[in-house]
């Protein structure tokens, strides 16, 4: 079947009034759970799985997919407005997005996120439509050594996440790596740092850690001084982007989209790197790197685009090979099976209406999201005028309920409190939470792929440099370090990374 016929088949399915309705319900729910801290798309899709029983396969999958990419739009909202990222990707958005909000530029930050996400979502959907099978094949060339090299490169590049001391940023990454070790060692089953608590066998919950070190710590800091509280945005200047803003976000959006699209295809955790990688790239390429961490609009535009492109292209391994790239995709596999369709390489041929219908619905969903989110910006910004004493306890409560609802594990709630206090202490010492979260999410992946590569190669460490992709990535990582330590560049760097305390 040629592309035009396939796409028109897809749109005929996606434009069915019932399917449009399911798509809308999906993206609306996605936006809402994205906005509510703690309740992520994983929990929502898990809760809605039984309801999808009674829907048609296309309707069910269109709705569930909508929840996922809709949540990527919504997730940035709380990150920008109240420094509370619900997912690893929005942790990056929080860095500059929240700074923008503090300066009264919450509107432009949210608009940038929505526009960048829309563009990236559209490109991601097109890639999915035109190149899904070959891209999925190419991604299979990534084995354990390649993923290890990719993550090393990601970690070294993302020291740029810090806008303060580099040494402290490194310390935070290491602390994050250690926190990521908590739980059962997947290779030997040995519990590590669990202190005999069986509830910690699956490790610490990302959302708990993020809500703690970002949100709760920020609240504690604001309680320090009743008068000097800067959390409430002074005056919201404007809701829309200026001409200058538009000029500044075009390149970051394009670069973020490209980076996110490529990383999203890799089923072994590439999507996690997308927003971090985009932020690092933008900071390095910017003529004004000193603005990063103080409300640079590029620091919102790039990562948000990257994140959404990756969210869209992470459907590629699932749709073409039946391989889930992350927990949400694993849930989608479950939804397929409940509908009597086993996801695999044959879906594209056996169920063309379903396959193309879902793809077409993704674009329609992205249009709905941008139409839904742009008018909502005014409303979200108004949320900031709710008195602090009412807004923040409510947010912490929502976050606790959300975290608890995922696994019914009370330790996920304890973790919020613990990391809130830890995050506050670290903040007082001038340490930033973003590198910590990066270490936390990448640490387990780094270890998993390193050890797997070594097991498969039977202890031969040269595997990392004899395989071309991994050798290239490690070469780039070395280059990144060399550039960082070159004296001439170091001088320039001093200007960039001033100790700001």
């Amino acid at each position: 079947m040629d592309m035009i016929a396939s796409l028109s088949l897809g749109f005929s399915v996606a434009l069915d009034p019932m399917n449009i309705l399911y798509c809308f319900i999906g993206v609306l729910l996605g936006t809402l759970v994205g906005v509510l801290p703690g309740i992520g798309p994983t929990a929502t899709i898990a809760m809605l799985l039984p309801i999808t029983f009674s829907l048609s396969p296309a309707g069910a999958l269109i709705m569930l997919a909508g929840i996922y990419y809709g949540a990527q739009y919504g997730g940035s909202t709380t990150a920008i407005l109240i420094n509370l990222p619900g997912e690893s990707s929005s942790a990056v958005t929080a860095i500059d997005g929240y700074e923008m909000a503090k300066k009264g530029r919450a509107g432009p930050a949210l608009a940038t996120a929505a526009l960048g996400s829309f563009f990236a979502g559209t490109v991601g959907t097109l890639l999915l439509a035109f190149f899904a099978p070959p891209l999925a094949r190419a991604a299979l060339n990534f084995g354990a050594p390649e993923y290890f090299a990719l993550i090393v490169l990601g970690l070294l590049m993302s020291i740029a996440l810090a806008h303060g001391s580099i040494l402290k940023a490194l310390g935070m990454i290491v602390l994050g790596l250690l926190l990521g070790m908590v739980g059962q060692d997947i290779y030997t089953g040995q519990p590590r740092f669990t202190m005999g608590v069986r509830e910690l066998y699956s490790g610490l919950n990302f959302v708990s850690v993020a809500v703690g070190v970002f949100g709760v710590a920020e609240i504690l800091r604001n309680l320090e001084n009743e008068k000097g509280r800067d959390v409430m945005v002074k005056a919201v200047k404007n809701l829309w982007l200026t001409k200058d803003d538009f000029k500044r976000i075009i390149a970051p959006v394009l670069r973020g989209t490209a980076l996110g699209s490529v990383l999203g295809i890799l089923p072994g955790g590439g999507h996690i790197l997308a927003s971090f990688a985009s932020y690092s790239a933008e900071k390095r390429l910017s003529k004004h790197p000193e603005e990063f961490g103080h409300g640079a609009i590029e620091g919102v535009a790039g990562p948000e685009s990257a994140n959404n492109a990756a969210a869209q292209t992470s459907f590629i391994p699932l749709m073409t090979l039946g391989i889930p790239a992350h927990p949400v995709m694993a849930l989608m596999v479950g939804a397929f099976i409940l509908q009597g369709i086993t996801p695999g390489p044959n879906v594209i041929n056996d169920q063309p209406a379903l396959f193309w219908g879902i793809i077409a619905s993704m674009w329609i969903g992205n249009v709905m999201l941008v139409l839904l989110n742009l008018p909502l910006i005014g409303l979200w910004v108004k949320l900031l005028s709710i008195p602090y004493r009412a807004l923040f306890p409510a947010i912490v409560l929502f976050a606790c309920i959300g975290c608890y609802s995922i696994n019914q594990n009370i330790y996920d709630v304890y973790a919020i409190a613990f990391f809130g206090v830890l995050g506050y202490v670290l903040m007082r010492f001038g340490c930033e939470p973003a590198p910590l979260l990066l270490g936390f999410v990448l640490g387990p992946l780094l270890e998993e792929h390193l050890r797997r590569a070594m097991i498969i190669s039977r202890g031969d460490a040269t595997v990392f440099i004899t395989r071309p992709i991994s050798a290239t990535l490690l070469g780039l990582a070395v280059l990144a370090v060399v550039i960082a330590v070159l004296p001439s560049i170091r001088r320039k760097r001093k200007e960039v990374f001033v100790e700001d305390d």
């Binding site: 084995g143 089953g189 391989i323 939804a335 390489p345 696994n407 998993e448």
Partner: protein, 326 residues
């Protein structure tokens, strides 16, 4: 409040509880029933649970809600049900891991044979021996010779400690009396990815995860580990046909906490048996490459017997392999 009033209140409360207990057994169920699945949503066990729950809801006249309590190889969720109120409103749907946990976890806080009231078996999902497309052996006999000849140079993927694929690997190495290099993954999905990508040699995994890949020619299949061939893979021989002494099925059972009223167990047993004859359940199970057990097996007695014999079987295999999860 003086001591007497406390005692009085307590005894009234106790009487009330006892009374409501008898009412519960007759009218059961009067509120939604929770089935705990000790694994994450979307996985094979979760799918089995949701299919059954949907049909049992209609029969029992109350919503049967699936709750995923993942973690610690299924022991967290099972432990939660072990200590739950034995009122028939909290049940456990667990697979073969129920019988391996007592050996894998040396400090298990519950005893599968004491803390649960078995309700019945549900299904036994077949497993398949598959390898990357360009793997040298083409038949099961060749595969067996290849593994024996190459031993630790063969890489075997499995979905983590205590997973069915790890158990099948132990049996395979046991049967061939050799050691392969076993490589753990975080679940069956990533393991399958590396098989398709040719990064690793082989895996023995549930037909749920392998059938579509086998049909599409993405992986090479050697055998199915059940006594009979599979309906949707009729050309795939059984292990017995190929002369390999290895039989394993990922059996799933339904349990209530120990001490649950016998009348409630009987009611649930009947609802389970009825659900297993439901058209949708049978056809969806068929797509997963499995069949519901017979009514005679969907009984407390059959599940108790299987659980006890499997605990003994796996104790030997796991201790010989020296693999522990704590």
């Amino acid at each position: 409040m003086n001591k007497n009033t406390v005692t009085l209140a307590a005894s009234m409360l106790a009487a009330g509880l006892a009374f409501s207990g008898t009412v519960l057994a007759q009218d059961y169920p009067t509120k939604p029933i929770t089935v705990v699945v000790p694994f994450s949503a979307g996985g094979p066990t979760d799918t089995v649970a949701r299919l059954i729950a949907e049909v049992m809801s209609q029969d029992l006249g109350q919503q049967v809600v699936v709750q995923n309590v993942g973690g610690a190889g299924g022991t967290l969720g099972a432990g939660q049900v072990a200590t739950a109120q034995a009122d028939g409103y909290t049940l456990l749907l667990h697979h073969i891991g129920m019988s391996t946990a007592p050996t894998l976890y040396r400090s298990l806080p519950y005893d599968p044979t004491v803390d649960f009231a078995p309700i019945g078996l549900i299904t036994s999902v077949p497993m398949t021996l598959v390898a990357k497309k360009d793997f040298e052996p083409t038949t099961l006999a060749e595969l067996m010779d290849y593994i024996k000849a190459n031993g630790e140079n063969v890489t075997y993927a499995h979905a983590g400690i205590g997973s069915a694929s790890q158990l099948c690997g132990m049996l395979l190495m046991d049967a061939l009396d050799t050691q392969m290099t076993t490589v753990p993954y975080q679940g069956a999905g990533p393991a399958m990815t590396d098989i398709i990508g040719g990064q690793i040699d082989m895996i023995c995994d549930q037909s749920t995860n392998t059938t579509s890949q086998i049909q599409a020619g993405e992986v090479k299949a050697y055998a199915v580990t059940t006594a009979a061939r599979l309906g949707n893979l009729p050309d795939l021989p059984t292990t017995a046909e190929g002369g390999l002494d290895l039989q394993i099925g990922v059996w799933h059972g339904l349990y209530a906490p120990a001490g649950t009223d016998a009348a409630i167990i009987t009611k649930l047993e009947a609802a389970l048996q009825k659900a297993l004859t439901d058209e949708t359940v049978i056809s969806r199970f068929a797509e997963l490459g499995t069949v519901p057990v017979t009514a005679a097996e969907a009984t407390p007695a059959a599940l108790t017997e299987l659980l006890t014999s499997q605990i003994a079987l796996w104790k030997g295999v796991i201790e010989a392999a020296g693999v522990y999860a704590d």
